[in-house]
Amino acid sequence: MRDVIEVNHLKFNYRKRGVLKDVSFKVGVGKVVGLIGENGAGKTTLLKVLLGFLPDHGRAKILNSTPRLNYDVSSMMQGDLKLPGVTVQDILEETAAQSTSSLDIERVLKELDMMDLIHQRLTSLSGGQLRRVSFAMALIPNTRLVFLDEPTVGMDVNSRQRLWQKIDDLKKEGKTILITSHYLNELEKIADQILILKDGKIAFDGSFNELQSKYLMTTISFKTELGMDNFTNIDSLKNIRKKNGIIYIKSRDGDRTLQALLPLLNELHQISITRESLEKIFISMSEEELTDEKVNHTASI
């Protein structure tokens, strides 16, 4: 089978503002894909285009066909249903009636440890509980492709763990899952492919390992009497700056930069080495141009 999702130079404007400017990517069968981006980056809009709610202008293919409604696709969008007078059982029965291949409601609720909620009204549930109901609603239609938009927002730790466990189970069943999230750490263990959406474009498309090797930075800081010129050409340098008498070197390869600094070791004091967290990678990616490969020299005192 060909790719489950195929997007080529997709554009989408909302009120004359380019939300999606040039989006291209492919997703293979049975992959778990993490779609990362800041608030307003266009993640939800992209999902709505892929679901067929918004026009794709012939630029997208889902399950080998143009996106349209009534597909072998289910979704868990942001904003949970909080309909008055409706119980969890009601909404799940309603969900099950929409598809011919639906899963048994009780089975899904037991798997997600939600049987205690079955008779509760949606209006009486907390934000995290509502999110779990929405997740159950995405599972019940038993579709080949599942879109999850910020699935863990508001969930407690146990619920999150159960959700990721369930997603892992779905992956083993061969389902393709596209998840949007702000949390890189959560996606690290499960995602086969990471897409980073920035300014309406896919700024990164690859595996988590590729992302790490490309963007995981090491910061080496020290005090020295030597001038900045001595460090501007060292190996794997991303950028260098000086603040309060301390020189900060950001390196793409901490080991190689340290080796390059070894000859100067006697001149360096108060040395500190910090590896950036995944969250920091995301923040720095949001602040900088991902495609900018040039070494940026700045000095601020």
Partner: protein, 256 residues
């Protein structure tokens, strides 16, 4: 068929059984008004006059109940379903919104019929109102036809963006309309200029038809023409709003 029956069960529970707003504002309140004005605050000792008033006020309260249901209940449910993404959710199924609209339409009609049964029952039990089977049948039929403009108005109003605004607008329409069209007290008590306005409202036409039926009076063509014109106007307005909403991508609550 399974989808439609599930949808009917789903909507029946939330629109009728578990809908305190419907039970209180559409049923209990008109019943309380009816008992209050026909049993407690009696304005005449003439039994013949009182019999007519009990009949007419039953009709008025039925219309008032339908007005409340259309504007306070149906409009709110339609709006909330769209805003919360329930329509988006339903649109993903192979039958789209077809079953949803069928179900909402059937339940709207049922809710009006429940009003007729409850208020009619109270009128019979409390005031000994007596109507023939044909009269009850004609009354039910007229309620079905006469509620159309009110339901269309509720549907049009459901496209108001914020729930708070919808609540205010519905209140601003419901209560003045009820008073001006003579549902709360006889229209003859109002100033002349207000009567002129009141006699042009769909609630007045429906109330007048019901009054003709219950009093064995001749049905007036002007009432049917009035209901017809209001239906056409509100249908056109609703279709226009739907078209604009679809163009803006907000018909099913879908926004970029």
């Amino acid at each position: 068929m399974k989808k439609l029956t599930t949808q009917l069960r789903f909507d029946g529970r939330r629109l009728v059984l578990r809908n305190t707003s419907f039970i209180f504002f559409s049923l209990l309140m008109p019943v309380m008004f009816y008992i209050l004005f026909t049993k407690v605050m009696v304005v005449t000792n003439n039994s013949a006059e009182m019999k007519i008033f009990s009949l007419n006020y039953m009709g008025s309260m039925i219309v008032y109940s339908i007005l409340i249901t259309s504007l306070m209940n149906i409009a709110t449910f339609l709006m909330r379903d769209r805003e919360q993404g329930f329509l988006m959710f339903l649109k993903m199924s192979d039958r789209g919104l077809f079953d949803y609209y069928i179900s909402m339409g059937l339940w709207s009609v049922t809710m009006s019929m429940i009003s007729v049964v409850i208020l009619g029952g109270v009128a019979v039990l409390v005031n000994g109102v007596s109507l023939g089977l044909t009269q009850w049948g004609a009354l039910g039929l007229m309620v079905l036809i006469g509620q159309l403009p009110l339901l269309l108005l509720g549907m049009a109003l459901s496209f108001i963006k914020r729930q708070e605004t919808l609540g205010v607008v519905c209140n601003l329409i419901t209560f003045p309309a009820a008073i001006v069209s003579g549902l709360w007290w006889p229209i003859g008590l109002l100033p002349k200029w207000l009567q002129v306005i009141g006699e042009k409202l769909p609630t007045y036409f429906l109330n007048d038809v019901i009054s003709s039926i219950t009093n064995h009076a001749k049905l007036k063509l002007v009432d049917f023409v009035g209901i017809g014109i209001w239906t056409i106007i509100l249908l056109a307005v609703t279709l226009l709003i739907i078209k604009i909403s679809q163009r803006r991508g907000i018909f099913a609550g879908v926004q970029a």
